[in-house]
Symmetry: C2
Subunit: 556 residues, 2 copies
């Protein structure tokens, strides 16, 4: 089934939810970027998605080899300038809004989710260097990262330190010339090695000698795969070894590496930002990366939905009105498809809305910064939860064929499942919401209360206000116990608010897209919003219920 | 992580929900069967689960070869008499209740889900022959099927006929000697071929010449892999070709075959029951098979939960109270684990409760027959929905390790996903509920109303009564549009009722198991029941919303 970029939908959300005109992007540019990225992704990246899943990258002594076609398709991406959309103007980028770059990334990832992780990670490296790098580092690295000629990675996780980055042990020892000798093993490094780019810029969290324990002792280092020569070109290989690539359930096109730095004591890195500034720099990378992972939920939901709709229109089964009909005509299949559409649109609206705040915050808007902080855990966690749900419904729509790998629905289901885990598990997002962001919620809730029209949606928004108020003064464990149900309620409330807004605009339209938009928005408010109200009891329950038995008894 | 059969829990549910004492099974027998099956499954079947997933069966010219160890483990199953538990006494079986056989099957499947599909399918063949076979057929086939020396298959699906069995085209032409020449291609045949048993008894739905169109023209045929010789032993191979085995997302230990019958015009089958009695015989097989698929939801949920609890107790991460602690102590991880426990127990209670009605109905209890008819779609659909949900939470509890295949959590997630699809998709179950079973609901709802205590649970039960009443007089499309949300609401109400009953009993206990049981029941009623009430709006929505746009617009 050929992938088609959802240009009309993306444009609608960029215009009416992200208000991209206010960010200086006019309709002509918008059309050119969305249509161009769509045509590129449809033609060059989507056809490689299945090969990425089945063949996948391979580990060799000489490094990771990508499957056939990926090198050329990546080169076409660089040459087409698709990496430069949101990159900084002073460094070879086009300086367009982050939210527009997100739309382009969505298209690439919907076409080929695993592949699109390479540019996604590169964005994180660019952000870190832009905000924390020295002018020299920026001049040397940003132009190549902007175009995608070089790719970036984030090296956080170690075997004993996953969500708990404060526990990591990698070392960075001054070499006396301003550089550091890096030593340690990092796991789960997406695109930690590959053969598509001239260099790979690893951003590595490590500890300097005598650093304090925990997160405050972390520093961030720039560790290139190839050290730069006097002209700034990749020269001698650094002392980095690809130990292995993981056997993952999905996202096979993305090589997930175990990297060993400094086995021979000769891995050279440079500090990014001040010593002990690692955790702050990490959050710079991570916050936007979290939005881009939420965006992966949109990617996989879009791809799964397109595939399911096409199958359901094609597959004849059962008799309605006497003759065989396509399964799309069966009410419960309709329900599944409309749910897929509505959830995908809701996730897109939520993520684009949050991404639009990045641009406003970057321009100095403090209110947008606060809103972004509040929306980031919602976009990451709920966007990815939707991706998993929609991919699962997609398998179901296909019936038995959905379980056969050749059909492609199963790949979406497998690909999607990592997204609630990485870049901070969704549980961590929920903890972030109730731990650091609760004070930011009342403003948004008040605004939604003033705008929502549907009675059920109003009830949900009010319930969010009530629960948020209770949690604000609750004991920490009670807050954490309620965090996930509250995150889901609140996310659905925000999505409902955004969907209702879109529905009002779409109701006036006559094009097939606007009719579909209106129907999906109506479905969302009528059927999905009330479900979230069912979470209120859990969001008000205390931790006591969870600790009624101890850990050992839990295994009884 | 070694699998441990949940004997205390199984015994509790068999005693207090299935009331197995009333079925003539005393405590000594119960203990002996549950503990014996547990020890067997733990020792012989569980250790092969991963090899079944990674190596899997292979197609060869000479038929399907099972992975290393499976032949011996299957032989041990036959020799241990584990297949005979529920098989009819007159034919080599022990004639114990169906619900006890289900508990044994649960243990086998929790240890090795794909493998356990072989006995699961054999149960269906036994049921069909017992109810529709001739005395000669019963005498020839039932003893070997009872022990498992021969296995059974169900051959329904064809490429153009999945859920719509009326569309199938396989032919059966009288050969003049009372037998039929079978011709046709069947797909998705679980254990359609393998090398573990001396014979395979295929039950094949096909059309005789001049049969009417649709389901009423179907007849059921017994088509052995090897024709029986004069002594009733497997002799000449029948004309059945294994065309291929499917590349499935999971359940790899079970070879899913494409079978071609009668390529050389020499495939001999016998009619089971009367000509055109195929659909009735199919439902005999299918109804109990549906319960056993609901039971697969329990299997995978149990296995995933055990794995997640063990991981969470072992994995140190993050600091609570200053020192590193196992992640099981984090509130949101606790919430996930308790939810897994509660959902698994709820699915088990629902499925066992339904299975207990099989035994009562077989003994002539008309009320139990009606209850069974009502509960079957709930047990199948909601049991498998729970299996998928719990397996997904299991991946999440593992964090990044959950996405790595070696950990095992991902296998559960992949294995589980077929269960909402086969033996009638869960959408078909929902259609069955609102199409044929609605009139049976008020009796159960009234009974629940008289018994439930929790206010939220009472509200849910009452909502089920209200929605059921509305649907009973609704137009067909409106009923179908609401079918799935209603099925879920109703299933959770029944589970809530069964969990509350168990909670009352467990509250009086002091053992770790009873404390856990009480905590899980409390969690279920307090947190999961209210969620289901959130489905009421969708269960009362008409089909109009789903057809607001046509199929073409859905692809806009």
């Amino acid at each position: 089934m050929p992938f088609t970029a959802p240009v009309a939908e993306q444009k609608f959300v960029l215009q009416h939810i992200a208000h991209i005109a206010d960010l200086g992007v006019d309709d002509d540019i918008l059309d050119a970027v969305l249509e161009g990225a769509g045509a590129f992704a449809e033609g060059e990246w989507a056809p490689l998605a299945r090969a990425g899943d089945t063949a996948g990258p391979t580990w060799t002594d000489a490094g990771v080899k990508m499957p056939k076609g990926y090198g050329a398709a990546y080169k076409a991406y660089v040459e087409g300038g698709w990496g430069t959309i949101g990159s900084p103007e002073g460094f070879g980028g086009q300086g367009m809004p982050f939210v527009l770059a997100a739309a382009v990334l969505e298209t690439l990832g919907a076409a080929n989710m695993g592949f699109a992780l390479a540019p996604t990670l590169t964005v994180g490296a660019i952000e870190a260097l832009l905000h924390h790098g020295s002018p020299e580092q920026q001049a040397l690295y940003l132009p190549k990262l902007s175009t995608g000629e070089w790719t970036g990675t984030m090296n956080l996780t170690e075997p004993q330190a996953g969500s708990d980055v404060g526990a990591l042990r990698s070392r960075a020892v001054p070499r006396g010339d301003g550089t550091y000798a890096i030593q340690g093993t990092k796991i789960f490094i997406s695109f930690g090695d590959h053969d598509m780019a001239d260099n790979i810029v690893h951003l590595v969290l490590a500890r300097t000698p005598d650093a304090p324990a925990g997160t405050k002792g972390l520093s961030l280092f720039l560790v290139p795969k190839y050290r730069l020569d006097a002209d700034g070109n990749p020269g001698e290989p650094n002392d980095i070894r690809v130990v292995s690539i993981e056997h993952k359930m999905g996202l096979h096109a993305s090589p997930t590496c175990v990297l060993s730095f400094g086995d021979n004591g000769d891995c050279v890195g440079e500090l990014i930002g001040p010593e002990f500034g690692g955790i702050r720099a990490m959050f710079t990378m991570m916050n936007n990366a979290r939005l881009n992972v939420g965006l992966q939920g949109v990617q996989v939901a879009e791809a799964a939905t397109q595939r399911a709709v096409a199958y359901a229109r094609d597959r004849m089964q059962g008799a309605r009105a006497g003759a065989g009909v396509a399964i799309v005509e069966h009410p419960d299949v309709r329900r599944m498809l409309l749910r897929m559409k509505a959830q995908t649109m809701a996730a897109r609206a939520l993520v684009y809305y949050a991404c639009g705040q990045v641009d406003r915050a970057n321009a100095g808007d403090a209110e947008a910064r606060a809103l972004l902080d509040l929306l980031t855990p919602l976009a990451k966690a709920h966007g990815t939860d939707i991706g998993c749900e929609v991919a699962s419904i997609g398998v179901q729509v296909h019936g038995g064929m959905g379980y056969i790998e050749e059909t492609g629905a199963a790949q979406h289901y497998r690909d999607a499942r990592i997204t609630p885990i990485y870049e901070g598990t969704n549980g961590i997002q929920a903890a972030d919401l109730v731990g650091r962001k609760l004070a930011l919620a009342p403003g948004l809730i008040a605004r939604m209360q003033g705008e929502v029209e549907d009675a059920g949606l109003r009830a949900l928004v009010e319930a969010c206000g009530e629960v948020g108020g209770v949690l604000a003064t609750a004991a920490q464990d009670d807050r954490l116990a309620a965090s996930y149900p509250f995150l889901t309620m609140f996310s659905v409330a925000v999505c409902g608010w955004l969907m209702e807004q879109q529905g009002r605009i779409a109701d006036a339209g006559e094009t097939p897209f606007l009719k579909l938009k209106a129907a999906a928005c109506r479905f969302y408010v009528a059927q999905i919003v009330p479900e979230a109200l069912g979470l209120k009891a859990a969001a008000l329950a205390s931790a006591e219920m969870l600790y009624a038995v101890d850990a050992e008894t839990l295994a009884a």
